[in-house]
Symmetry: D3
Subunit: 324 residues, 6 copies
């Protein structure tokens, strides 16, 4: 069990605790001896560490991505705390509390998923019903879908975040399909659920949220298209034109090429999807950011990516609980 979280570690502390091992780099001292630089993490942050003794034994027993049990002490190096490791051994994933290492939604992901299933059962378009039946019957997919984050940093950057994001968008899509006439409701909701589905493999989120090799080389857009294609091959009588429209929503949901859209949205449904994705992502990015800041202040600190301070104003109670 975790005693010390990274956020509260200070120089002088003695450490006897579990962490996720994020990085491990073997280096050589000027005298020819090897040492090991490491990065450890839990859900509150990351800390650097160094192993001076028993280097080969320790290095041989753990891999980046493992959970590890570490003993040692905390010194200071170039102004930040550094963990001087005495022992480090791998810990089986089922021996740790996953939620100590990765932040997760407070919501019941089974319930959230059930709401999505219900929504897809209302579809009147046969091939889209069959497509989602194929997804929901794929247990490995469903398990991953309930766990995946929607981002590494910006919004819904926690376990279950992708599901929270997709459900919120699907509910919004349902409302907007009523608001504007002429929209294909089933297609729009299907796009809302599947537009980011490639994030199941774009990220690695076993011990910490980071990009996978595949994610960095191909992006969640390409991976998502592959995942949809794989399921489409299991269904008969898929209208090719409509399938292309669904894929187009994945291809175009970032809106502009400069932001990663291979094509700009060219159908009404793709346009709507882009805007509600932008809306839901940004609202949640800002609410997550506000939630970390001192609630007694009118203004947040400066948000580097969005380039501004945010004004809390009357927002007294902006818990990122389930919307809609």
């Amino acid at each position: 069990m975790k005693n010390h979280f990274v956020q509260s570690i200070s120089p002088g502390d003695t450490i006897d605790d579990e962490f996720a091992l994020v990085e491990k780099t073997m280096l050589q001292k000027r005298d020819g001896n090897q040492y090991l630089n490491i990065i450890l993490a839990d859900r509150t942050g990351q800390i650097k560490g160094v192993v001076w003794d028993n280097v080969r034994t320790i290095a041989g027993a753990v891999e980046a991505g493992d959970f590890v049990h570490v003993t040692g002490s905390v010194s200071e190096y170039r102004g930040t705390p550094q963990l001087v490791v005495r022992t480090m051994t791998a810990v089986a994933p089922d021996k740790v509390q996953a939620e100590d290492f990765l932040p997760a939604t407070d919501l019941d992901v089974d319930q959230l998923h059930e709401r999505l299933v219900k929504l897809t059962e209302t579809f009147t378009t046969p091939w889209l019903r069959h497509l989602f039946e194929a997804f929901w019957q794929d247990q490995a997919f469903v398990t991953a879908f309930k766990k995946a984050p929607a981002a590494k940093l910006m919004h819904h950057a926690y376990l279950g975040g992708l599901l929270v994001h997709c459900l919120s968008m699907a509910v919004l899509a349902d409302k907007i399909a009523v608001h504007y006439n002429g929209l294909d409701r089933d297609l729009l909701i299907a796009g809302a659920i599947l537009h980011d589905i490639g994030k199941l493999r774009e990220f690695d989120y076993s011990a910490a949220i980071d990009y996978s090799d595949e994610g960095r080389l191909l992006s969640h857009i390409v991976i998502g298209l592959e995942m949809v294609d794989e399921k489409l091959r299991q269904i008969v009588d898929v209208p090719r034109d409509q399938a292309n429209q669904l894929k187009h929503m994945i291809v175009s949901h970032h809106g502009e090429p400069a932001f990663g859209a291979l094509e700009p949205p060219k159908t009404i449904e793709a346009l709507v999807l882009h805007y509600i994705d932008d809306l839901d992502s940004k609202i949640n990015a800002v609410r997550d950011f506000m939630a970390k800041e001192d609630p007694s202040q009118n203004w947040t600190s400066y948000h580097r990516i969005l380039g501004r301070h945010f004004y809390r104003g009357n927002q007294k109670d902006i818990l990122p609980k389930a919307d809609g």
Copy 2:
């Protein structure tokens, strides 16, 4: 009454009809005599014309912005039809059918406006209720608000378009205020109704939709702030901080400085407003564009401003009627 609309005028036609006089420029021939170049319009387009005879009399009797009765014939100049004017006299605005000259919404603007009034009567924030009472009791304002277009070209570019746009956004805002917790519903709906209010004076739409002098010099954002300020001065006990948040929604609704936002959205409500403005404007711009194109084709022609062809797909029936 109109017989010939501009769209259908061809070289060789004889003209005896009403138009809006858009521009009038006095020029001089090489022999020293003056002639008049004019631009005439109706709701189907614009045509150039020239007056060779009785120039001073005709020029003295009409002004740009007038409705005029014109007789003459159509020749061709540098590849396009040109109207050679024999007579041109002013026509009183109440003698023409306004809808022949400016496109207008098919919807009942009184009903649309009534829906907005009802919505503001549900507000629980006193100063916002008083603010809208002040607006709704201002008959000149209400008359203009029912008539103003939302744009010259891009979206809702017809009489009543601003009201259609604001109502659609207000209804959307109401839905989204329920979808996300922590939003100030009254403030968000107020912003949806007032964010473009400066367009009442940014545009001149008596005989044709064009920018007013004030509109070109100050923009609808500055004009809208002045209009809100004027009403706020009539109300007591306006909380200064909340009034600034309302003004901030007008200041920031274009999202980024490069698109005309003096400040980026810094409150949750201003963020939401920006996205639903973008959503409603673009959806309607695309639907208006599709409505003008051959419905039997899968693809529209190239949309120069949005930079793409649009795919009609299943959109068989996308009349821009009242949404929501």
Copy 3:
């Protein structure tokens, strides 16, 4: 057989000739009667036409994309020649000379293709050899690959252009794999051949070069990935990591997101591929452009997309024949 090419058609000409029918739009006159606007093309350009009589019969007998035999006469409308059609009937594709309608490379595409096959037979990487065997054994693929253009307008915009471009790049890749140490030659050449392979379906080039529905919705990058994936499923023992590197070359070959790269090049081979693609495309775009201009002038006219005049200088003889 073609007598009149579009480029040389003038008002007053009588027409009795074959064209590609590019567009067909049914419209209605003010008197309620229908007429047909059409666009006809051959390899020298496009001309607009109109059908006033027998509209339904003619419209029912031809489709956009057909070759048609047309009789009629040429008038002038708004400053450009317009074909007034008397009769128009479909012509079977095997009855026309394809090269009258679409520009094509002068080179022997079978020979070019044979050179590519030979190059892939030198590969020492088993799965890449198998991948290309799968492509080369797919007759439909090979036929299309020998015919596809590389672009609609910019470079290699003629039948066989894609093959010319890929061969030139593959030969360059081979030279550069020797120039820089540490490059994976097989992977680089494979990327050179396959990076644009999606253009086989992105374009429609039966009667004229234009984008296909699929091409506009998904882009050649996504289509190309699907084509590679389909072949990879037929091969055993594909190393997943290397396959992702090959796909990454397709994903990243445009270099930057703003130019359509979902990810920027992240391997040395992807970097090299991007630069030689840019080099070969631009060199050929400029040479194709120069070839259309008066060879006695030092400067070309202004190239709108590249934004400059080009200086011919010593380039007396820049026929775009096979390079390398």
Copy 4:
């Protein structure tokens, strides 16, 4: 009186001195006890501090924006000095030397202001004379105008800086109105004086220069327009068109939308104003920057915002004293 300035505080120092309290944030330790993070400032910089004891009493007695008397000692935290506060009490503003906390111009602001008044008395345009009479008779305005800075960081970032900037621009405007024929001198000078007037409220500069709530939500452009509007309402016979031209100068003085101009300059006077604002701001930004650097070096260090090193060359004597 100040003994220690922030710039010279080092770990190990004992502090018994006055500061401006910039920020105050109450936080909670893991043991449940509260502590206080603070930021203190004087004209030489800012330093972080922490209060561990008597937290509630101290926190209740001071507010951000107060001048405070602090005793304590200096330690080091994560590589930078940190003040561990023992006592902190508010000090009345009239008990401190304002110039210890905020940098101020060396010039006599009464004299500078008198020069501006004289300049506006030469106006021959009645409504502009009346407008400035209204401003000069508003004592609260004049007091603030003599004190306001022109920026937080970039140029004229000191008390009185706005007045120095406006006077320099007004004098330049006067010269340029003579240089180019056809300029409206009174309008141009009026714009030079009023273009940044909203900075009186955009900034808060009682104890330190920072943005006000209103400034962040509305920007100095909107605030300036409100201030001019308020004065215009007190004058009779203001020609609406000319007033709009004056407001247009405020609206457009940043030149381009991306830099905060709601409209680009559309009159000759607005164009000139934009260029002399850019000239005066940048010249002073560079001179202020040079003045802080070692005068014996040919090159300044790298200026992050302007993106370059500056070359001192012959500039031996570039004191930012009154120009013109």
Copy 5:
């Protein structure tokens, strides 16, 4: 002598007049016979022409850049007038009125130049005095300097325009050198006179204003540096550091790399020069544009490059006569 100016030529006219021959392109008809496409110009514009008969004789007797005497008649081709040439012969430059072909300043260029000479005689920096003595004693240089335009289209686009621009800037520079302390007056004025000096060779302005080969390949910045270098080689004791500062003003006067500055301005003088160049160019571009428009209208037409309409307002009298 000119009878017909291009601006007033209409289909049906008979032509017997002088023009500048701008372009000459030999083409081939389908029957194998050659014909000649030409472009003719005078100061009011350009007109296309064609030669069907005596093609070789005529083509052999004239070159692009010649003045020519043309007889023929005016027809219409694709909606614009086209001159069908019967005869065309070269005319010696001294037989035409240069001002019929190229617009020129109304001012006395000798007087303008004399003012510049006087200004440089006030310099107290020896090497700068010697530099200008070298320029002023170079008769070919002075002759060209009095004739060169400052641009092809945008501002001061007429003979003598460069001199008008440089004098205006030099006078402004003199005023600003007094306004801001610490400026090197001689260096600043020298930069004002020489910053665009490469335009003497960047443009060809014998019969019409166009870019020279050298101008298109090297730009006026590189040519100007060569011209200054050539004169510097004739002077002894040039302080290398100061000469580099002068060259830096030429290198950086466009302000930003994207606008053609190889380096951004890094000295105070280079900064000032950039701003007064921008100011003088834009003011004159707008005044030249206004001068061509109907003076009775409040707004100009849309200026494509500057992206806006301009408001005339009180500008009743904006003749581009000598400023300062």
Copy 6:
């Protein structure tokens, strides 16, 4: 001889070693006494230092740019090591091992240069042969050319780097001149060798690689043009048009104005040169970056300028040795 390299200096170390003195700034303490801030460097990095005693003597004996012998001890200031200097004296350049202070290529620069000379001897264009004879006979030029780096940070940022880069490009140019028909081989190779020649003076690389005054004011493009011009003046019968094409390659090799091209490439040779410069620079920048990173990791750390992580993949052996 060096004992301690900067990279391995830690707080507590005693120093008695040689460094390059990069910067020296005299400052004043609050008590009126002076002290000296310095920056020392060797090929492994930079370290800050301070001199408290004998300040005037020490400051008078050394200059920035000198090699110095330093004794003292290492403390820590604001989280980074700082050298407290006891003594510092100048060391003659011939007494130090240059390679301790500046990284240098491992290759034999005489051999590399010889390959370039051989290549230019194959030229068939007389004036280009003469041009290179003039360069190769200039001993000072050849010495500098063998020593200059190609950049301060990005690629080939070591002594000899410019020569390595130019040779690689010249060899590539030779191959590409064969690959595409119609290229002027001599001109292309000449451009490859000379395009960056101004870097000989743009950088100062006696004790550390930094920009020279001239480099910052004029850029390597302008300096390179001056160097070519100087040699061209020594040759008779240089065809002006071809010389301008060579200069154009220097002017345009950065491709776009925003990246420092005064004109975009307008000849085929200039286009090719731009692409192979981009190719060779980027490949080497990435390989140099990879070479500094842990070879056991699949991904490099984040490259700030290129904005991505790089994937090592199969690149096991990417020593930046001579290519081609």
